[in-house]
């Protein structure tokens, strides 16, 4: 690969983040045109992706990488193949129109610049996700999409419902991400590769591994959480709290498809087994049916669309689980078709909301006069959604029905599920396309008006593309299906989709059945909705309520544990800590090992004995001290003489540090003592004194014994020798201790100083809290005095 291509791919992943950085300033300068200006970035990325098509159409890949943490083999590596190209084109193409749409939809919103920033950050994360080669890079971007989605759902953060939906989505998708991480790590261990290209190149073999089922379940949980499969689906309808461009972009066209992407990507590595087939098809089928039924039940336009998205995601998972060539091709076609018509319909719903002030389908009617362009756009999108001929949706349905009309009876059961699900989604499409526009005019919160060009252009382009794609089957075969199918199938495929209405083909009859069923349901839509509502009320339990119960249960549990452990009695904390530490030292020694032998009587010079004597005197002074302050200072005597001993035995660095630590310990202890307003003298009754003394002796002698054990093992001098030899020539330093701290183990030190800083902050906060509470009390008292004087 040429260097140029590497830079281009790296830029694709980076550009949206750079754009996010400057988006608020562009908003200030460009004002109402900010959407159009910022849309240049995704548009350019889209054009670049189109330019890649010739390079990857023969089932080859473009790979680039940048070392990140080479010690763990983690790199920022990306690759482009058919599958990532389709997703990348979808993300950037739809993203272009979404950015333009947001410019108009949120015009005048005080935080529009921030919104642009979030949505571009999301775009970058999503592109990074589908382009990532290294599985850890993939995971990082996977979680970044969860985080940006959290920011976007909670964009309207003054509303409680938006905040709740944002947190719920973050918990479900982020939690799924952790399962995915565990799965990816296990997969890395099994295959010996941590890049997707490596795993794909050596695919096969994972399925026989004893850990296969574990990996499969972990990856599937991650994918299901992201792609809102039953029973982890409840966050998606709630995510409709986000502004409409977000719903159109994240929660129908792109982010929720990340799970589908992952499953498609993993198909060669994990797919093809019974477990894969049954898990994916059963959960996918359940999601499809539930999504379809719930969608018909709703009256809010966005909720209706959200549940059909659920259904569509279920459909895609089912098809990937099915895994035949036709099923995979059908999934790819449906993936593209769905993004086009669902993106368009969401934007239509947003335009209706924007133009009338309501999204309740029962409160809308007769808008065809006032919103003619929106009406036509909605019809075009619905044609593709319902799968009428020449639309891309038709091609997708024909291919998936073809996949299911070739086999045995379970196939027919799935065919029935597919027909019912598709019919239900068709009903919703028709309802949205016709109900608000036809019939008598219904008064709306504000008088209806057509959307501005910025609001309309995206939905028009997507809807028209969705319908006309059926005419470009040759291009779809060679540019989309062959490379993408090749990536999912891991070997070259030859797609031969063509537009035909052959009555001898059973798939055509399945489509006809879908239309008839959908038409009937549409005719009786109100009755069906009422019946479904009553059924829902009869059940009376939702997954959403279950989530709440779980979360509140967790909080109550945490509260109870905290109250148990955090009772606020310092004396007991210390006692418990020291008893546990003594236990940790003595129990293994007594159970597994034996106590160390006593060391020989040391040969020391008189000044060394002197230092030891002073230390002992210091200890004696601590025990006999009259006041607490004296005891603290006496403790310092003992510490200082230990420092002197370190010095005498040739550890100047250690001794130096010990001096400083002792000094500061005494100062800080003394200061804390003066703050706590304790009695000067330490009163303890005999019983307490014996108990505390016993614990102190146990702990202190434990440390001594531990040191003896350490001294009596053979010292491994390899490291010492290594540092002695390399520290001056490599690290330019003669003080090995310091060289280790700032060079060899610098990353440990970086962690440690971060902890020191955080601890400092926490202590400051604690002291300040106390001071504030006191200040307030004093303030009140002062106020009271002032009041009494007046």
């Amino acid at each position: 690969m040429t260097a140029n291509l590497e830079i281009v791919v790296a830029l694709i992943a980076l550009a949206p983040f750079l754009a996010a950085l400057i988006a608020p300033s562009i908003k200030v300068f460009a004002g109402g045109f900010a959407g159009w200006v910022l849309a240049i970035v995704p548009a350019a990325i889209f054009a670049t992706f189109l330019g890649f098509i010739p390079a990857i159409s023969d089932f080859s890949v473009i790979r680039v990488g940048l070392n990140w943490i080479p010690a763990y083999g983690i790199s920022f590596s990306f690759f482009v193949d058919g599958l990532s190209l389709v997703f990348g084109a979808m993300i950037s193409g739809i993203g272009t129109f979404i950015v333009i749409y947001s410019g108009a939809y949120l015009a005048g919103h005080p935080h529009q610049g921030r919104f642009f920033s979030y949505i571009l950050m999301f775009m970058g994360s999503m592109l990074g996700l589908v382009l990532a080669d290294n599985v850890f890079t993939l995971f990082v971007f996977w979680e970044l999409t969860s985080i940006t989605s959290f920011l976007l759902i909670g964009f309207d953060h003054s509303r409680q419902a938006a905040r709740r939906a944002a947190i719920q989505a973050l918990i479900v998708t982020g939690g799924g991400g952790l399962a995915l991480l565990a799965g990816l790590i296990t997969l890395t261990l099994i295959t010996g590769h941590n890049s997707l290209t490596g795993m794909l190149a050596t695919a096969g073999g994972v399925q026989e591994n004893p850990l296969y089922l574990v990996v499969l379940l972990l990856v599937v949980v991650g994918a299901f959480a992201k792609s809102a499969q039953v029973p982890l689906h409840f966050w998606l309808p709630n995510a409709m709290e986000a502004p409409t461009p977000v719903s159109a972009y994240l929660h129908s066209a792109t982010m929720v498809k990340a799970g589908v992407y992952l499953l498609a990507r993993m198909n060669p590595v994990l797919g093809g087994t019974d477990a894969w087939f049954w898990i994916l098809t059963l959960f996918g089928g359940a999601t499809l049916l539930l999504g379809g039924l719930m969608a018909v039940r709703q009256t809010d336009l966005k909720q209706m669309l959200a549940y059909t998205t659920l259904g569509s995601l279920g459909l895609l998972v089912l098809l990937i689980g099915f895994g035949t060539k036709e099923a995979i091709l059908g999934a790819i076609l449906y993936l593209c078709a769905h993004s086009l018509f669902k993106g368009a319909l969401f934007m239509v719903a947003g335009t209706i909301d924007h133009g009338t002030g309501t999204r309740d389908i029962t409160a809308l009617g007769g808008l065809r006069e006032n919103l003619p362009v929106t009406f036509i756009t909605a019809i075009l999108a619905a044609i593709s959604m319902a799968g009428f001929p020449i639309a891309m949706g038709f091609l997708a349905k024909e291919e998936m029905y073809l996949a299911l009309t070739q086999g045995s009876w379970p196939d027919l059961a799935f065919l029935a599920v597919l027909i019912i699900g598709n019919a239900l989604m068709m009903v919703v499409g028709l309802l949205i396309a016709f109900k608000p526009f036809l019939g008598p005019t219904v008064p709306t919160p504000h008088s209806p008006h057509e959307g501005t060009p910025s609001l309309l252009v995206g939905s028009i382009v997507l809807a028209v593309l969705g319908v006309c794609a059926g005419l470009a089957t040759d291009w779809i075969n060679t540019a989309v299906l062959n490379p993408t199918g090749g990536s999912i199938y891991n070997r070259a495929v030859n797609a031969q989709i063509h537009l035909a209405f052959d009555l001898g083909n059973p798939a055509v009859w399945a489509s006809v059945a879908t239309w008839i069923l959908g038409g009937l349901l549409f005719w009786k839509a109100d009755a069906v909705r009422n019946r479904l509502r009553r059924a829902g009320e009869a059940i009376g339990w939702t997954f959403d309520a279950g989530f709440d119960a779980l979360m509140f249960g967790l909080i109550r549990f945490a509260d109870r544990i905290t109250r148990l452990l955090h009772h606020g009695r310092l004396e007991w904390y210390l006692l418990l800590m020291f008893v546990c530490l003594a236990g940790i030292i003595y129990v293994p020694l007594l159970v597994v090992d034996s106590l160390p032998a006593l060391p020989a009587w040391p040969e020391l010079t008189f000044y060394e004995w002197g230092a030891i004597l002073i230390a002992a005197l210091g200890l004696l002074a601590v025990l006999t001290a009259k006041t607490r302050l004296t005891a603290i200072v006496a403790l310092g005597i003992q510490g200082f003489s230990v420092a002197v001993i370190f010095m005498l035995f040739g550890a100047p660095d250690l001794s130096f540090t010990q001096f400083m630590v002792e000094t500061l310990t005494v100062i800080i202890l003394a200061l804390v003592m003066t703050r706590l307003h304790l009695d000067d003298v330490d009163h303890r009754d005999l019983e307490t004194a014996v108990r505390d003394g016993a614990v102190a002796l146990a702990f202190g002698s434990g440390i001594a014994v531990l040191l003896l054990v350490v001294l009596q093992t053979d010292l491994d001098l390899t490291l010492t020798e290594f540092f002695r030899q390399t520290s001056t020539p490599i690290a330019h330093g003669r003080n090995i201790v310091n060289v280790i701290l700032v060079d060899y183990r610098a990353i440990d030190t970086l962690g440690e100083i971060s902890v020191v800083m955080a601890a400092g902050l926490a202590i400051l906060a604690l002291i300040k809290l106390r001071a504030d509470a006191k200040g307030k009390r004093r303030g009140r008292r002062r106020g009271a005095i002032k009041g009494s004087l007046q």
Binding site: P652, I667, H732, V742
Partner: protein, 140 residues
């Protein structure tokens, strides 16, 4: 503790300790010393100055809140790690530039920047703690 001798000597003592702490920091790579020990000495200097002249005076003398030094220190240490990236070696690899100035060797390096970061963190965090404890309630 507030004797005249202590109050008179403390500012000079604190100044000496601060200078010495920097000396200890800089010699650390070859002789006993380094950022951590130097930082502890610097923090002691702040604590002593605080006891002698009062916390308000000390805060005025250092101008910014001591915890700021701690934050800057972590940033500095992290940044010193990133310097190695453009040279295409891993994060936190030590880089050395050795100059010959008038016969004596001056060695500048990323580990030195890192050590200065450590120094700042320790001075900042421990100093902030000590000053906060010394301060009268509500004064902070």
């Amino acid at each position: 503790m507030n004797t005249v001798i202590f109050r008179t000597a403390a500012p000079a003592l604190a100044a000496l300790m601060l200078v010495f702490s920097v000396f200890v920091l800089l010699r650390g790579h070859n002789e006993p010393g380094g950022g951590f020990i130097g930082g502890l000495m610097g923090a002691s200097a702040l604590a002593i100055y605080g006891i002698a002249t009062g916390v308000r005076e000390t805060r005025k003398a250092i101008r910014v809140h001591p915890i700021t030094f701690a934050g800057l220190g972590v940033v500095l240490a992290a940044v010193s790690g990133f310097i190695s990236l453009p040279f295409e070696v891993p994060f936190l690899t030590g880089l050395w530039w050795i100059f010959d100035v008038d016969g004596s060797e001056i060695a500048l390096s990323t580990p030195l920047i890192f050590d200065i970061g450590v120094y700042a963190v320790v001075v900042g965090a421990v100093g902030a703690m000590a000053l906060a404890l010394e301060g009268d309630e509500g004064e902070d």
